[in-house]
């Protein structure tokens, strides 16, 4: 029977594909929130016994990735009064095809990594790679500042998934510090988006191009 972890991982892949294929920023934000809630289960499921620290990390992850980030992003989207379209440099079909290729590459790479230990599903490392690649692709190809932040969060989610495997001895201090940093990063980016909108009447980061050699 399929384990819950594998179920979450397949969900992660599917949401990534949706993120690549959709044109609505609102849907993208919801998908990232969805991923975040799924990821919040990983610290609990990864390694046997429940501890207070893994519970705390899980709760904080769910709260931040599932609630705080989407709220922040939706708010900056509203305050920016923009058309809620992603407007990528690469077409959606092209993005989806990239997704398929990236998936193949990450499966190939994941097969070459040593398995971190018993009880860890084989899928985890390829899925983490895939999510990271999708995030990087999004940052490069999406034009709007908001969608770049969404892509950054996807990247972060992929790394988080990887960390859930790699760091089986959950260290509360480190994990909390990382979560706090990511939170502040998104917060600061949200403010920057608001400012960009005020200054330029758009949040098209492609038009931020006056500084160059």
């Amino acid at each position: 029977m399929l384990s819950l972890v594998e179920f979450i991982l397949v969900g992660l892949v599917l949401t990534n594909l949706v993120l690549l294929g959709t044109s609505r920023i609102g849907l993208c934000i919801r998908m990232v929130a969805f991923q975040g809630v799924g990821l919040a289960f990983l610290p609990l499921l990864g390694h046997g016994d429940l501890t207070w620290s893994s519970l705390a990390i899980s709760a904080a992850t769910a709260l931040l990735k599932g609630w705080a980030f989407p709220t922040l992003l939706f708010r900056s989207l509203e305050s920016a009064h923009v058309r809620a379209e992603v407007e990528p440099y690469v077409s959606y079909s092209g993005s989806l095809l990239f997704g398929v290729a990236a998936l193949a590459v990450s499966v190939w790479l994941g097969g070459r990594m040593p398995l971190p230990g018993p009880g860890v599903p084989q899928l985890l490392i390829p899925v983490a790679f895939f999510t990271i690649l999708v995030g990087l692709f999004g940052i490069v190809t999406r034009r709007k500042a908001v969608s770049q932040v969404v892509a950054y969060l996807v990247l972060e989610n992929g790394i988080f998934a990887f960390g859930a495997v790699a760091l089986r001895k959950a260290q509360l201090l480190v994990e909390m510090g990382i979560l706090l940093d990511v939170f502040v990063a998104v917060f600061v980016m949200g403010i920057a988006i608001f400012r960009i909108n005020r200054e330029f009447d758009h949040i098209d980061s492609g038009r931020l191009a006056s500084l160059k050699e």
Binding site: M113, P114, P116, G117, I132, L136, I139, A145, Q148, Y152, L155, E156, I159, F162, G163, V165, A166, L167, R168, K169, Q171, L173, V174, E175, G177, I178, L180, D181, V184, A185, V188, M189, A192, R195, I196, E199, F200, S205, L208, A209, S210, L211, E213
Partner: protein, 483 residues
Amino acid sequence: MLGALTILVPALAGAAAFMLREHRARRALLVGAAVAHLLLTLAAFAAPARPMFDGALLLDEPGRLFLLITSVLFLAAAFYSAGYLEREMRGSRPDMIEGRLFSNSPEARFTGCLLLFLAAMSFVCMARNLGLLWVGVEATTLASAPLIYFHRHHRSLEATWKYLLLCSVGIALALFGTYMLALAGGGEISLNLNALMAAGPTLDPVLLKAAFVFLLVGYGTKMGLAPMHTWLPDVYSESPSVMALMSTCLLNVSFLAILRVRQVLAAAGQAQFGNDLLVFLGLTSMAWAAVFLLRQTDYKRLLAYSSVEHMGILAFGAGIGGAGMHGSLMHVLAHGAAKGAMFLLAGNVLAAYMTKNVSEVRGAVRALPFSGPLWVAGVLALTGMPPFGLFVSELAILRAALAGDRPFLAVIFLVLLAMAFIGITTAALRMAQGENTIPARPEPMSATWPPLALLLAALLLGLYQPAPLAAVLAASARLTGGF
């Protein structure tokens, strides 16, 4: 516990700065916190290193070295910015390049973020746990982003966005590398530096190398190594001089982060792999910077590319190892002092001439009786002329490279240094010479003393090193060089 205070004092002062409404009190707080920080750092120098929080924080020799240069530069920045903030006009005013109106962001935010930035950098200097190290480096990014957007116009906003996005992505990759390092240990050992180094040979070599690559790219982005340096010229040219000065510290602590990771690599017997990568990235950065230095028309960007070049020198020296590592650490101090002085002087020139264009600045020596001559001295210091400290450190790196098994690297190093020298001196000396295009004007004390002090420090480093400093330098080189 003195070490922990160097984090706590600026953090609390930063929080207080957000609350204070009185401008004078806030500026006094900034200078006071800077003085206190330097005193604490010097006191920590004397005290033996004691681990804090389960060994998560420890002020070892390399940490002390980087903390010292950070603290000194911050003190200069604090003195300078006390006057700078006084002189900055209130309300909106026309932008000198495009003529559009803009205003400054609140002074409390600037001061507060500056202090928090210092706290984050002190934290990085002490972090022994690679996870916490990452947290600290990311915190420096976040604390410094509002500083770039001090002048609220669209160019600084663009620079802020680039900085945030590029550095966040770079840092995210570093986090990936950190996790990979944990995976190399089978996921069972903690990310503590001591534990990782003790596990050394048992770490999975392939994963370890992959982890180093990701960490090098990640922290290298923050350090400004080419080709990940693209945020750096934009940030330097659009942010206030104080911020530019502080980001020199930022580059330094990122270098420290890379050195920490290399310690693990060396403990696992993979030092050669890391060294090759460092040498390669170092020479790439130097070459990239040299090309852009040769035809640079904006003097703030000129200094930025000079930073890229010097970061390349640091990476090159670290990659050569041995005496090169010693030279590299020495270079951190000397370059920090010289570059800090140059940024402050560039701020003075900008305030007088109201242009960042090299060709529109003439006769700075006559127009600015104090900053002008200092600018010339600074250029000489920055390009590694004797007797400044940079000459000594670059010479040490060169000798180490010549003595190594690949002397042709030394030749490339020398050629790139010469190119950078030509680029910087032609532009910067032309600004100093000739008939002054603006009338001579008096300069405020707060704008001239800090760069003078920093340049004197850079000079002193070339002539004489105090015994405690020399001891810390030698110990740090031994620790981080892995020899």
